[in-house]
Symmetry: C4
Subunit: 208 residues, 4 copies
Amino acid sequence: MPVLRRRAIRSTERMEAFTDGVIAIAITLLTLDLHVPLHDATIGDGQLWRSLLDRWPNFVAFLVSFVVVGIIWINHHTMFAHIERADPTLVLINTFFLLTVSVLPFTTALLAEYLGHDGERTAVLVYTGWFILVSVAFNLLWWYSQKAGLRDDGADEAAAKQAAKRAKLGIPVYTALFLIALVSPTASVIGTGIMALLYALPNGLAAD
Amino acid sequence: MPVLRRRAIRSTERMEAFTDGVIAIAITLLTLDLHVPLHDATIGDGQLWRSLLDRWPNFVAFLVSFVVVGIIWINHHTMFAHIERADPTLVLINTFFLLTVSVLPFTTALLAEYLGHDGERTAVLVYTGWFILVSVAFNLLWWYSQKAGLRDDGADEAAAKQAAKRAKLGIPVYTALFLIALVSPTASVIGTGIMALLYALPNGLAAD
Amino acid sequence: MPVLRRRAIRSTERMEAFTDGVIAIAITLLTLDLHVPLHDATIGDGQLWRSLLDRWPNFVAFLVSFVVVGIIWINHHTMFAHIERADPTLVLINTFFLLTVSVLPFTTALLAEYLGHDGERTAVLVYTGWFILVSVAFNLLWWYSQKAGLRDDGADEAAAKQAAKRAKLGIPVYTALFLIALVSPTASVIGTGIMALLYALPNGLAAD
Amino acid sequence: MPVLRRRAIRSTERMEAFTDGVIAIAITLLTLDLHVPLHDATIGDGQLWRSLLDRWPNFVAFLVSFVVVGIIWINHHTMFAHIERADPTLVLINTFFLLTVSVLPFTTALLAEYLGHDGERTAVLVYTGWFILVSVAFNLLWWYSQKAGLRDDGADEAAAKQAAKRAKLGIPVYTALFLIALVSPTASVIGTGIMALLYALPNGLAAD
């Protein structure tokens, strides 16, 4: 695909726009699992409140995933502020990254369906295990852009290094959460939520 | 996330594009609740008309939510005409704002399912109560961008102040509609529709 | 909303991007009604072919709607090549236009469900009748942009006039198709398909 | 539609943005077929693993289609790096191309439903047959842009020729996979996956 190179050298704009599109759709599809209880099966206001509260796993799963995907978008944004050119391999890795992100509404729906039910451990293992894959794809982008000389860190090389370092944390963190799920799926989900909030805080996990 | 700052200082463009994407998807997903009556259960043209008319709650809920989300998009657009830079905290608040917006297809579906049925009060309380949250997130954006000096109101400082003032109205208005729902859910939905139309009128709620 | 004016005067870019987003989603959601026959109810390859062929109304409805929405996008694109500024009223009319477009997956699903079944006339009346509304919204955009002096027809005033004239044809054409549906729903759907193809041909309906 | 010409001559930007939107949505909708097994029918963690593994056709279909659509996006991107102007006919052909792409979630769902079940051959014939159509539409874009003089191959004419040549391979390849499905649907699906991976490799199918 040498053709791609010519335009790619000029900018990563269309790749960023396509990525934004896929992430925007994936994050919005997360809400499709907040199923509304049917009115045929509901008698009165009190029961609807209870039906809604019974769906707490759906809300928890939605919330945790939304925060994680939101952070993924922010981090992708940050990374591409340092990448000035794309080559075909970077486009491919980014497509693999998008594949991992687009599956998140499925792993989220799985978590929502089984949290608090039989099969919970399996669901949480799939949920946290998939995040490992997302994190691997994300780190591949950092690694390859550096290796192939596609970056322009400008005056901000320290910032780029710190962001890449933060990104690397994702793999051990999600692996730990995956292992925790073997013992306690509940603790693993709570841990995922806490990690997401820590990441979300500005400089929350900054290394310095 | 100091990395973000470098590009962010240059523009809020990608954040606006991502926001546009999420709002465009959320507003279009509203139509997914306009379920088509199945032909197995329908005998003839007259009955299909009646089936469609029986679904008035779905159409009302769709219409009110579409107008509200449309106005939210217009107001976000207006706000960001005054915001020239983003920092990580603004990005985070905007992500929280997007979270509140992306749930609107769910609260709309809930309203559509229960309007005119048992459980209506609960549905309307959730529906109007969620709008309070959307409004809080929206006002946080105004407040923080001002506080952190991210704005450039240029010659139009009066216009920015007026828009921020209009935005502030959202919180008491939706709180009032929430409280009205305790007494009369129907009145609360009608009120939400009327408020949306008033907001939609150019200068309809202008303060001067 | 005088605030909007400042940026709006500069460009219609974000409005076009938001419109593109909503139309792209609406046109892609059309395929959600191409339901796959379940394999539990299917015995062998021959029967799956027949099941698929039995779904011809879904494919016809999808195809006609896709072509019409595609043309709507092209025409909106054409129109905004002549509109250089937006004001709050234009944004509002455009939001109303988007509302009419976003409902098209619903009217298409209705057509798909009833074509060839009892209730077909009602479905076709809703389907063609809604296109009248889309056309009215589209013509409002042309009319208002002219009236409010938001256009810059440059050297191409003749082209703008011709495009506006073509747009005006939509209202009588869809009204005729609506009336035809009272007599023959089938003829009305075929007519809608033929009109869409004529419009699609470059210069197909050019007035000169 | 001579009106379009004026802006179109300037750029293909909005067309590319609209195309990106439709492809981003289509690729993300592919995940909607990764249905979650319901917890009512699942007893314990082991059974959920088995339920998930039983869904291998859904994962295979998703994976193959995701890679193919990803490559389609990359190739469209490559092509438009060589197209500098659009005319109404090119816009029309591109709309036809988008129509073929937007149906892919349906053919993918069909494959997922029938892979490994009765009716598999029919499903694979539809799946691979539709890719022939996508490839025809894609090649029409190359052919017409050349014929109508809309290209600017600049110094990279060799690259453009090679990309067009690679694109042409799609038609015989998918036709072969279609014919193979008559004998062995399984071999055809495996072949589609392999071809997708070969295409995905940078320079994997480069002609020189």
